[in-house]
């Protein structure tokens, strides 16, 4: 996978557009087992990310992702804000100074992001959170020879599996067993994030090829 500074930027912009388009659906998912604001939070935050990064030039992947992380932290709020913000912040540390990120470095960045989420959220896999998407994606990425399509496919399947899980973290946990049978909104937005990667890589490939 060819993740350049420009591709990274396109990735975040595409993700932003997807959050916007799925704002209503994400909030609906959150309505069912949380407080109904996840889509609004993500859309609000990523609209600001776009404003921040769209017309700025960056030298490295880390730079783009760091700007995104700071914006997310200060604009999303709720649980998703600090979690996505921390995830991007940690990944940006790994990708700092790199105009292009190798498959191995990509996986390292994901790993750092996941550690950030887990630490900030005191959470782990299997608790019906965004981690239930991020961790399978990391496992897929760690196999090497990353294909964005494959990551997105993994994310999709992992997201769908959250339906069967009982929530142990976040607001959905208050429902206990009643949380089963619903997709986790943060897992869904995470799926959208990895889905957006496909588009960015394809566009990048075309631009380069």
């Amino acid at each position: 996978m060819n993740l350049t500074t420009e591709t990274a930027k396109q990735w975040l912009l595409a993700a932003g557009r997807d959050m916007q388009e799925n704002k209503g659906y994400l909030s609906e998912l959150d309505q069912a087992i949380g407080d109904g604001d996840h889509g609004h939070n993500m859309a609000r935050g990523f609209a600001e990310v776009e404003k921040k990064i769209a017309s700025k030039t960056y030298d490295d992947v880390g730079g783009v992702v760091k700007d995104a992380s700071m914006t997310i932290i200060s604009k999303v709020g709720g649980a998703a804000g600090p979690l996505y913000g921390t995830a991007f912040l940690k990944a940006s540390g790994v990708w700092k100074g790199k105009a292009e990120v190798s498959d191995e470095e990509f996986a390292e960045g994901l790993k750092a992001a996941i550690d950030g989420i887990a630490q900030r959220g005191k959470s782990e896999q299997g608790q019906k959170t965004m981690l239930d998407v991020w961790i399978p994606v990391l496992q897929e990425a760690e196999k090497g020879n990353i294909e964005a399509e494959q990551l997105a496919q993994t994310a999709k399947e992992a997201m769908e599996k959250t339906e069967g899980i009982e929530a142990k973290k976040g607001r959905a946990a208050y429902l206990g067993e009643r949380s089963i049978g619903h997709l986790d909104p943060g897992a869904y937005s995470s799926y959208l994030l990895f889905e957006a990667l496909v588009e960015a890589i394809e566009a990048g490939g075309e631009a380069n090829g």
Binding site: E28, Q31, D35, G36, D37, I73, P82
Partner: protein, 317 residues
């Protein structure tokens, strides 16, 4: 959704403007933030008290900014925790040189955002302590319990203690003691509608109620047939007393309206609740009946009991 609003995106901003317009001598809004602070902040030599969270709980928390109460409230979007940079601005604005206490309700979002802000403030050399409120006994695991109306007791007691000149350490301990001794539980007759989504958080039939609801339009822990007020009072009190021994103790009581419940009904609830507590030989030193921590236009109420000692009773107002 029927509300007296303009654009849903403007609700928070316009609400804060309306608050400041109503009380210009008492409060002000920090420029370019959603933070309400006392107009005389920072008060030199006084510990600053900061609380906050998502909006939609009015009067919590901005309505508690004032004398013997909070120094600042950080107001997030409706039912959405505020971001760390906003909390950080609040901390800076109220630090009178002797540190700041953050009063945080136990939600993942609130805890994480306030935590990040505390780290930022500590990096700048400001002393920061936090107390996390977990009073909602509807949640079984004590670590996961939500912060609900009991939070107001912490505002009041820590607020009075801070005004009296106590140190950050002492106030943090006192706030923690208050938090450790307050338990709450709620029941709802109708849901709330987050303006941005325009849809109710859950649906209830004409003869149903939801027991153990939180303050964010979340569903509760059990749905039941609506019962007479006295039976509801009994159920709530019974649940609360599983967590505290009040026999021969002094207590403070709060019957909190969730947003659209007439005071009439809250007093009818108080009649039975106080009767039940008197039967347990508790001495009710102070009763609060009204809307203290709401969930937009949710109908229903919560009951909070705070077990008092001399110090808590002294500072409660």
């Amino acid at each position: 959704m029927k509300k007296l609003i303009n654009q849903t995106d403007d609700i928070l901003d316009e609400m804060l403007e309306g608050m400041v317009a109503a009380h210009p001598n008492e409060i002000k809004r920090l420029a370019e933030t959603n933070v309400i602070v006392r107009s005389n902040a920072p008060i030199k030599g006084k510990v600053g008290l900061v609380s906050g969270g998502g909006s939609g709980h009015e009067p919590a928390h901005a309505g508690y900014v004032g004398h013997k109460l909070l120094d600042a409230a950080v107001c997030g979007e409706v039912f959405t925790s505020p971001t760390p940079d906003q909390v950080y601005e609040a901390i800076k604005a109220v630090d009178g040189g002797v540190g700041v206490l953050l009063i945080v309700k136990n939600y993942s979002g609130d805890v994480m955002n306030f935590d990040m802000a505390a780290d930022m403030a500590k990096d700048e050399g400001i002393k920061v302590e936090q107390v996390i409120i977990r009073d909602d006994v509807a949640i079984a695991n004590p670590e996961d319990r939500r912060g609900v109306a009991g939070t107001i007791f912490v505002h009041k007691i820590a607020g009075a203690a801070a005004e009296s000149g106590k140190s950050l350490k002492d106030i943090a301990e006192l706030a923690q003691k208050t938090a450790d001794n307050v338990f709450s539980m709620g029941v709802s007759l109708s849901p709330s509608i987050v303006p941005a989504s325009g849809k109710p958080g859950f649906e209830l039939k004409e003869d149903e109620m939801e027991i153990g609801t939180g303050i964010h339009g979340e569903q509760g822990i059990e749905r039941k047939t609506l019962k007479p007020a006295d039976e509801i009072a009994e159920e709530l009190v019974q649940n609360l007393l599983k967590h505290m021994d009040i026999k021969n103790s002094r207590i403070a009581l709060m019957i909190n309206g969730q947003g659209s419940t007439p005071l009439m009904e809250l007093y009818i609830m108080n009649r039975k609740v106080s009767e039940l507590l008197n039967e347990k030989q508790a001495e009710i030193k102070k009763t609060f009946v009204g809307e203290y921590m709401t969930s937009i236009e949710m109908a229903g109420c919560s009951v909070s009991i705070l077990k008092l000692d001399d110090e808590l009773e002294y500072f409660l107002h």
